[in-house]
């Protein structure tokens, strides 16, 4: 189909739920209120690591308004393991051991929030404190206490490999060998809506849980196991609106608790976490330490690179392995390096669990890689842009997992970002006093759609007799706008206006399986599936049109502007509504279709980690300009240009929104966000939005220019690929490089807070490096 013919794809259409959003009528987790419901509150561990000697809930049970208390004794199968990889290392409620402060001992359901809170505080627990490990060094020390002795021999549950060529022989050919170590901090997703869930028992005894989640089918798998209930007795529904996820609503947290309390009390149970509880209990972005050893020639060609990555996954695995795999495979960036040895290690600590967060290990790996690229360029006396041009992937590249990737959009993003960065810029802008200015760049390769071992989805579509359509798919729109994008794809394929399409999502009973929202897989995987199912419906409509006009061959029909017509006889046309009516009511074949779509990974070679893990890759370039106040250490990002590949922009406005929001998240990682846990007792210290600061409107660059580069993907629906997940990935590297450029020194650790900048400057004054 020609581009000019597209009616709905490529258009700046408002979100399908936007009218509800701006009028306050969209229902989020806390809005699922039922008369007479009970309210749940949890009792969390008081230690980061301890044996539990005794749990006594008798006092709590007798408190006013209390209708039920649950502990591990009430959990039929007390294992979670987040339902992805089958290693169930996390209890639903702590039994004999607590491994971080978010481990929950008991949960109380009472008539009011205050009563539940009081009773949760009255649960009596006797602990035997154990030595705790709070960072990767402590956890990897020879005498470190083991967190999961029953499952793993050490605190390193996974060592992942991605090896290409022969590193050792090529280091000897290099003119320079340059090393650097880069560190990142722990981060909170900071969706504005905390977790909330409602459990109800239907008259026939079925349990329905409505919750703020990105993955209803992961949840039903876990809950079915944990509650020992067949899926036919269970239903998980996403809330109509979810106030952001960013990967933080991927794993079950409070859902088993409200379910168990509903079953125990026979009442509806609601639970809404406070911000403080949410920050303690929910998952985080893994802190990383990444070391590079790079062998490079005088002309700038990188010959060999050895990389070791250590990721702190906290107390439990969650999606730790999946994010480490992304980082290990892509830590060398989008660069031709013939010999790479990349080793990733996941490390348990007695701290908040690391799991999926927008970018999944890549904001850390990209920051480290791009900071190291600048450092190497500086060491060999090359311009950092020229150094990247010498090494970057052209039309294709080979990753250290042996995968060959299509990388055509990378150059276009670099050229576009360079162009945008200079657009309308006055070079003679005065510099404020005591300030220095710097510029930094970061390139990005981002793996979309990891198949572990598959990434699959299904869709149903029906067209009703007035030409309306309903699309059913089990993914969740947690704010990113996927329901709108997919509606546009359906509208385009069916020739039905967006307003006449309903898109039903995230319900384990009424919508077909989808793995869930994440990894920027929805536009590509679900989009392809929806398009295919809509094409099947279109075929049925064409058959009705063919019967109507008495043509034998329905394949000669096409849809344009809601009309089905024949190329050869433009006067013969019938509306989609008429065709739908005829096929359903007259010809006897209602317009319904289903389809499924999946990507599959190949088997992994344990020796070198070779595997086809990732179906598609996104590319981007971001360039930042910063001003650093040398008196206060404060950094202001004054300009930022970003160009991201997206295949085709199904909705340009939403592509821009994703990139802008991603940059905000990346800027927070670069400059201010830092989740701090006490080294005395493991408690999260930054447990409010005052102490855990995310960027405000004032912190964002005044000159923020974003662009999307459209190089249509051969498989994506209408050429589209995802754009949301990778948006924050290059930002920390670009900002870090700009700050290092401004100060003429390396800092190599995030966040670049004023005190860290001043300390680094002070140390440089003394001739050292931080």
């Amino acid at each position: 189909m020609q581009e000019h013919e597209l009616e709905y794809v490529g258009k700046r259409i408002p979100r399908v739920d936007s009218e509800l959003q701006v009028t306050g009528l969209c229902s989020y987790g806390e809005d699922y209120y039922r008369p007479g419901m009970l309210v749940a509150k949890a009792c969390f561990s008081r230690y980061a690591h301890a044996k539990i000697l005794k749990i006594d809930t008798s006092l709590a049970e007798k408190m006013p308004g209390v209708r039920g208390v649950i502990t591990y004794r009430d959990v039929p199968v007390n294992r979670n393991g987040c339902g992805f990889y089958g290693i169930a290392d996390q209890p639903i409620l702590a039994e004999d051991t607590v491994r971080y402060r978010g481990d929950c001992i008991a949960v109380v359901a009472a008539e009011t929030r205050e009563q539940a809170q009081a009773a949760a505080a009255a649960v009596q627990v006797e602990y035997l404190p154990l030595p705790a490990v709070y960072d990767i060094d402590e956890a990897m020390a020879p005498d470190a206490p083991l967190l999961h002795e029953d499952l793993f021999q050490s605190n390193i549950p996974y060592h992942l490999k991605a090896y290409l060529g022969d590193v050792d022989s090529d280091f000897s050919q290099a003119d320079y060998i340059i090393e650097g170590t880069y560190e990142t901090q722990k981060l909170e997703h900071t969706y504005i809506e905390p977790h909330a869930a409602l459990a109800e028992i239907e008259p026939d005894g079925k349990l329905v849980i409505t919750t703020t989640t990105s993955r209803v089918f992961n949840y039903i798998g876990v809950l079915g196991t944990v509650l020992n209930l067949p899926m036919s007795r269970l239903q998980i529904k996403g809330t109509a609106g979810t106030g952001g996820g960013f990967g933080g609503k991927n794993e079950v947290t409070i859902e088993p608790w409200v379910a168990l309390l509903a079953l125990k009390t026979g009442r509806t149970v609601h639970m809404v976490l406070t911000r403080e509880e949410d920050i303690q209990l929910s998952t985080a972005r893994h802190p990383y330490r990444i070391h590079y050893k790079t062998g490079v020639c005088r002309d700038g060609r990188i010959l060999a690179q050895q990389i070791s990555l250590y990721a702190d996954t906290g107390a439990y695995l969650a999606l730790g392995k999946s994010q480490l795999q992304k980082a290990t495979v892509h830590a060398a960036g989008p660069y031709h390096i013939p010999n790479i040895r990349s080793d990733g290690y996941l490390v348990f600590t007695n701290s908040k669990i690391g799991s999926a967060m927008r970018g999944m290990g890549m904001p850390q790996a990209c920051y480290a890689c791009e900071s190291h690229m600048d450092f190497v360029a500086k060491q060999i006396g090359m311009d950092p842009v020229a150094f990247r041009r010498v090494n970057m992937f052209q039309d294709a590249g080979k990753l250290p997992n042996g995968q060959v990737v299509w990388s055509e959009p990378l150059r276009a993003t670099m050229d576009r970002a360079l162009e945008l960065f200079e657009e309308g810029y006055r070079k003679d802008r005065p510099l404020p006093p005591h300030t220095c200015r710097g510029v930094g760049m970061a390139l990005m390769i981002y793996p979309q759609d990891p198949s572990n071992p598959s990434s699959s989805t299904g869709a149903f579509v029906k067209v009703d007799s007035d030409g309306s359509a309903v699309v059913y798919n089990g993914h969740s729109d947690v704010g990113q706008g996927s329901a709108t994008i997919l509606t546009q794809i359906a509208a385009e394929t069916l020739g039905i206006p967006v307003e006449k399409i309903r898109f039903l999502t995230a319900d384990t009973v009424t919508t077909p399986y989808d793995e869930g929202t994440g990894a920027s897989r929805t536009t590509y995987i679900v989009g392809t599936c929806v398009k295919n199912a809509c094409e099947k419906c279109r075929e049925i409509l064409f058959k009705a049109a063919a019967l109507h006009f008495g043509f034998a061959d329905h394949r000669k029909f096409a849809i344009q502007n809601g009309e089905i017509y024949l190329d050869t006889y433009p006067d013969l046309h019938i509306s989609v509504a008429q065709a739908a009516y005829l096929s359903e009511r007259v010809y006897g074949f209602p317009v319904i279709a289903a389809d499924s779509y999946a990507t599959l990974s190949s088997a992994e070679d344990p020796e070198n980690g070779h595997c086809r893990h990732y179906e598609k890759h996104a590319y981007a370039t971001q360039i930042a300009e910063v001003e650093v106040n040398t008196d206060t250490g404060e950094i202001s990002v004054t300009r930022l240009a970003a160009a991201h590949s997206c295949g085709r922009a199904i909705n340009p406005m939403m592509v821009e929104g994703q990139i802008q929001g991603g940059i905000q998240m990346g800027l927070g990682q670069a400059l201010m966000e830092n989740l701090i846990e006490s080294r005395d007792d493991g408690r999260v210290v930054t447990n409010t939005l005052r102490t855990y600061q995310i960027p405000t409107a004032v912190d964002m660059p005044r000159e923020l220019k974003v662009a999307y580069v459209e190089v249509h993907d051969k498989d994506g629906p209408y050429g589209a690929l995802g754009v949301g997940e990778p948006a924050p990935v290059p930002t920390p590297g670009a900002i870090h490089n700009a700050v290092c450029n401004a100060l003429g020194m390396q800092i190599n650790r995030l966040p670049l807070t004023p005190d860290r900048v001043l300390l680094a400057m002070e140390k440089r004054g003394e001739g050292g490096k931080e």
């Binding site: 504005i192 911000r275 929104g657 929001g661 409107a697 004032v698 964002m700």
Partner: protein, 152 residues
């Protein structure tokens, strides 16, 4: 004690206790679900309502202090089919992604435009400083407010 106030133009009275917060009274007692609970410490602005035209974090505002005052929530700003210009522009320019901060953000913006017809970009950014958004990077929010101001 008995609290008398005007909520979205309607005279309202109800019994409140000393410790009751305005957020809970509006959400749980009056059913105004647009007022969102994001932090309960006055840091995120999701619970913003206008009290006599000024934006206030209702999660840390004692309900009894609203005595005799006029409260505006998004329910009173505009309805589907009859959107306030700010709501229309927030919708059309994608100033809302997940939408959870949107009611508070709209009210903060209204307070600004009521007092200042054509604020500069810097004034807009300073004014919405107390309303956190994690999705948009604020760019399209600022654009929607500027467009509304230009259309006035």
């Amino acid at each position: 004690m008995m609290l008398h106030f005007v909520v979205n133009g309607k005279e309202t009275q109800l019994e409140v206790a000393d410790g009751d917060l305005l957020l809970d009274v509006l959400r749980d007692r009056l059913g105004l679900r647009s007022v969102k609970r994001g932090c309960e410490t006055g840091d995120c602005g999701a619970c913003t309502v206008l009290i006599d035209g000024l934006p206030v974090d209702s999660c840390i505002y004692p309900a009894f202090r609203a005595e005799g005052k006029h409260i505006l929530t998004v329910e009173g700003l505009g309805t589907p089919g009859n959107l306030h210009p700010l709501q229309k522009n927030f919708r059309e320019l994608l100033a809302a992604q997940c939408g959870f901060c949107t009611p508070g953000m709209l009210l903060t913006a209204k307070a600004l435009l009521d007092r200042c017809k054509s604020p500069s970009e810097e004034e807009i950014r300073q004014h919405i400083y107390g309303n956190l958004c994690r999705c948009t990077g604020y760019q399209k929010i600022v654009e929607a407010i500027r467009k509304t101001s230009a259309e006035q």
